[in-house]
């Protein structure tokens, strides 16, 4: 069972209540595909991922980035049982999508950096710690059903 202090709960709810999903989602996924190009292996049917400009302007990347970010909403609403919230998604990523779970950490790091760029100085060390703890639980839950 993950234990959350009030500051952590409030911080996570606050960040997501102010989240610009259509900006942050696409940019976080684009960052991941640009900074860690091997992650492009899972997006063979997304068309032009040839360079940073193409990736940042790719509408399929944008749409999928938004989808992924909204996928976190359920974890925000169920912080006390993220593991079962994502059990099905974990099976999907393992059995159908065959995604190496190490990639979840890469995307989560890119999301952290994207949120830092959005919030600037408001993204203090303490806020960063709470956000990273939340994402670590998400990442762990997504990898939980692999076997």
């Amino acid at each position: 069972m993950v234990e959350w202090i009030d500051f952590e709960r409030d911080t996570i709810v606050d960040i997501f209540s102010k989240m610009q999903y259509e900006v942050v989602g696409p940019e976080a996924l684009a960052r991941c595909l640009i900074v860690y190009p091997w992650t492009q292996r899972y997006f063979g049917n997304f068309g032009n991922l040839y360079n940073a400009a193409a990736i940042s302007g790719n509408p399929m990347v944008a749409k999928h980035g938004t989808t992924i970010l909204h996928g976190l909403d359920r974890a925000v609403k169920n912080m006390d049982d993220i593991k079962s919230t994502y059990a099905e998604l974990s099976v999907l990523h393992s059995e159908k999508l065959h995604v190496d779970p190490d990639n979840f950490k890469l995307l989560s790091d890119c999301l952290t950096i994207e949120v830092a760029a959005q919030l600037g100085n408001d993204f203090t060390g303490e806020v960063q710690a709470a956000f990273q703890k939340f994402l670590a639980v998400v990442v762990s839950s997504l990898g939980r059903q692999y076997h």
Binding site: E27, A30, R31, I34, V35, A52, I55, S56, D109, T112, I113, E114, A116, A117, Q118, L119, G120, N121, F123, T124, G125, E126, Q128, A129, Q132
Partner: protein, 141 residues
């Protein structure tokens, strides 16, 4: 592998940040202490509370070393020679901490540069800091 353009970008960014080395360095360290409490064990002999003189001077040292290395990335092993020895034989910091610090440095850059910390700059910087950390750890064993 860093392209010529990426090396120029990295040197340019660190050139611009050198005047605020203390701020950047202290912030990156504070972020690391907040997110990876184990990293604090290497600083039990210093006062690492926010805005402490120790923290700021230490942060400045680190950023200036990173900025110095950025001026000629092909010469990193030469530039970092003395620091390699220091980290291997005296400080003996577990190298996973270099990764934590690098990540917190990237977050600091993002918080400061905002949209100027583009994915291209991020990629270049991540590659540079990884190379820097790898060279720093070369004499460990």
């Amino acid at each position: 592998m860093l392209s010529t353009r990426e090396k120029e970008l990295i040197a340019e960014i660190w050139g611009r940040l050198t005047p605020v080395a203390e701020d950047i360095g202290a912030e990156a360290l504070l972020r690391m202490f907040a997110t990876e409490p184990g990293s604090k064990t290497y600083f039990s002999h210093l006062d690492i509370s926010p805005s402490s003189a120790h923290l700021r001077s230490h942060g400045k040292k680190i950023v200036l070393a990173i900025a110095e290395g950025a001026k000629d990335i092909s010469q990193l092993a030469v530039t970092l020679g003395p620091l390699q020895t220091l980290h291997a034989y005296q400080l003996r910091i577990d190298p996973t901490n270099f990764k934590f610090f690098s990540h917190c440095m990237l977050v600091t850059l993002a918080a400061h540069m905002r949209n100027d910390f583009t994915p291209v700059a991020h990629a270049a910087m991540d590659k540079y800091l990884s190379a820097f950390a790898a060279v720093l750890a070369e004499k460990f064993r």
